[in-house]
């Protein structure tokens, strides 16, 4: 079922206009803001209060999983058929190094990708988006325009529209 959207979305030509408007909207107590930008910009992160990503936890987890798999793989396979080489111990720790490193890296990478996808999906689900065709088909966000989506109640809409107009938004669209 589609989530009902109530709120405003606006587009900006200038980055600083957008950042000022975000700060002012956050002062009104509205925190669930979504922005659209053609490239990542730290100015927006600062305006949004520097949110943190939890992707590194997935990476760390993946690294441990990879190393664990490597240790298990080498020990079980080596002990399954004893193959003595040059009088070295059958299960030798130093020679595990390269394989543990490679498996650690590959699992860390896979888990990082998984983490990114899951966290993006979770955040996207937490926020509501305009359902109009105009928003869905707006094709300048990845080109040269900045956008802000503010879900808010009907009595907050006017206030938000006013802020957007104050900072010279190019287009302001109400959706309720």
């Amino acid at each position: 079922m589609k989530k009902e959207f109530s709120g405003v979305w606006a587009t900006f030509e200038f980055l600083d206009d957008m950042c000022f408007s975000i700060k002012e909207i956050r002062k009104q107590g509205i925190e669930k803001i979504t922005t659209h930008t053609p490239c990542p910009r730290h100015e927006i992160e600062h305006a949004l209060g520097n949110p943190q990503s939890r992707v590194p936890f997935f990476t760390l987890f993946g690294m441990f999983v990879g190393i664990g798999i490597g240790i298990l793989l080498i020990i079980t396979m080596t002990l399954d058929w004893i193959l003595p080489v040059s009088g070295k111990p059958v299960v030798s720790v130093p020679v595990m190094g390269p394989i543990l490193f490679e498996l650690g890296v590959i699992m860390a990478i896979y888990c990082t990708v998984l983490g990114m996808v899951l966290l993006i999906l979770r955040d996207t689900k937490k926020h509501s988006f305009p359902t109009s065709d105009k928003y869905k088909n707006y094709d300048r966000f990845m080109n040269d325009r900045f956008g802000v989506v503010v879900p808010c109640s009907k009595n907050e809409v006017d206030k938000v529209v006013e802020i957007f107009k104050k900072y010279q938004a190019e287009e302001v669209n109400r959706e309720a």
Binding site: E13, T35, T124, R140
Partner: protein
């Protein structure tokens, strides 16, 4: 003052994706012919046996292993440029990293073919993997050859993932700029619904940074492990601790040269790219070539010094054989290409001269292929027992397969530049000053 804007970057990239012209088709025809030669030669080898490969006893590793190490080396520069230069924020990276990453992926795809070609019975290639191949006998985890299987497959997976991840926002830009419905549909799927929201950028950028941090040691590990294929044996000329850093420096040297070999024609093919891929970016690459060229020269001299200083008879004999034996022409050509040809890059005028850079990059590529040939073949041709000494004779099959590998590599690159953005749109935009009202 630069005229580059967010819109102009998009336009240049969209322009590069327009239907190809006559020159592109003719070039692709030549490339496919080279690939055809390679496929024919490989089929011939499969039908008639490995005697057509030029390898003999005791030279069990020949042109195929040389090609393998060469292509892995080429594949080094892409991840180096994307990961290491991303972490150190090198300014010349942004305009060239996408094409370098593509180069890495295609070079590693090419390198991966050579162990399969080399084993002869290509259909048994999966015996290289941790699989109980005969009588439940597992592979030997103490062998550096197995480490190499893990290293190369991990490197390929990470390079592909890094490449695809970097492409997603740029494919979204292309999607939004496409007029054709079919193209829009294709790029919509490829860009997995990316619309540049703050949630997407936040996790994407953190993930990308982690990718770069993880890929950095991987860049150094993969060629170190390739070098241990040689260094962990006891053959004179191979059994040396300098091999890992020497191979890594050589790989960066050849990879950066290949980046120039590819980027310079790309700049000519798409005039809009000239403003984006600036001469100073190519100069940055030239400086990398100069530095790694000096490291490689240093490694060559240290090898000779240690052979002399160690007093080991077999080492000394081998290092006498390389410059003065039957294969001396390969050695001296290698010295010219790798140690001498890059020296003019000390002069700024030459570093910023595009035809000179292109010419030097070709020489370095040739030199680095010869370096691998010298390492692989001369040591095996002249090891401990004079009774077993031998010479290497090139066969047409291995030459054609080598030519075919270039066809395979360039085929992918040619297809790539026409269907994917060959510039990193989002990163180029990030490097620009954002449009600000208050600064005007």
């Amino acid at each position: 003052m630069s005229n580059i804007t967010y819109t102009s970057i998009n336009e240049d990239v969209l322009h590069s994706l327009k239907p190809p012209g006559k020159t592109w088709w003719i070039s692709l025809g030549i490339i496919l012919s080279a690939l055809g030669l390679g496929i024919f030669a490989w089929t011939y080898q499969i039908m008639h046996g490995m005697e057509w490969s030029g390898i003999n006893h005791p030279i069990g590793w020949g042109v195929y292993i040389t090609d393998f190490v060469f292509w892995i080396g080429i594949g080094h520069a892409g991840t180096l440029i994307s990961a290491v230069l991303f972490l150190v924020r090198a300014p010349f990276r942004t305009s060239i990293y996408r094409a370098s990453e593509a180069m890495t992926v295609f070079a590693v795809m090419t390198a991966g073919l050579f162990p399969i070609i080399h084993i002869g019975r290509a259909w048994n290639f999966y015996w290289l993997l941790p699989y109980p191949n005969q009588r439940q006998l597992w592979i030997n985890f103490k062998s550096p050859l197995l480490w190499d299987v893990f290293a190369v497959s991990t490197y390929m997976s990470v390079s592909i993932a890094f490449f695809i991840l970097g492409l997603i926002p740029d494919l979204a830009s292309v999607r939004d700029g496409c007029k054709s419905k079919l193209k829009r549909f294709f790029y919509s799927i490829a860009s997995v619904g990316f619309r540049g929201t703050n949630h997407q950028w936040l996790h994407y950028m953190r993930g990308y940074l982690l990718f770069a941090a993880i890929a950095t040691p991987l860049v150094f590990s993969v060629h170190s492990i390739v070098s241990w294929d040689f260094a962990m044996s006891s053959i004179p000329g191979w059994h040396t601790t300098i091999f890992a850093p020497y191979f890594v420096a050589g790989a960066i040297f050849s990879g950066c040269a290949m980046v120039l070999t590819i980027m310079i024609p790309l700049r000519v093919a798409f005039p809009g790219f000239k403003e984006i891929i600036k001469v100073r970016d190519l100069e940055g690459m030239a400086e990398m070539i100069l530095m790694t060229g000096i490291l490689v020269t240093y490694a060559y001299s240290i090898e000779f010094f240690i052979a002399y200083y160690s007093g080991a008879k077999f080492e000394r004999a081998l290092f006498w054989f390389r410059p003065f034996g039957e294969l001396r022409y390969f050695f001296w050509l290698m010295v010219f290409c790798n140690c001498v040809s890059a020296l003019p890059l000390w002069i700024k005028k030459i570093r910023t001269n595009i035809p000179a850079l292109f010419f030097i990059s070709i020489l370095v590529n040739v030199g680095m292929w010869l370096e691998r040939f010298n390492i692989v073949v001369t040591s095996l041709a002249h090891d401990f027992d004079p009774f077993a000494w031998s010479m290497y004779k090139f066969e047409w099959v291995e030459i054609w397969i080598t030519v075919g590998s270039f066809g395979w590599f360039f085929m992918w690159f040619f297809i790539f530049v026409k269907i994917m953005p060959s510039l990193a749109v989002a990163e180029l935009k990030e490097a620009l000053h954002p449009p600000l009202r208050r600064s005007q």
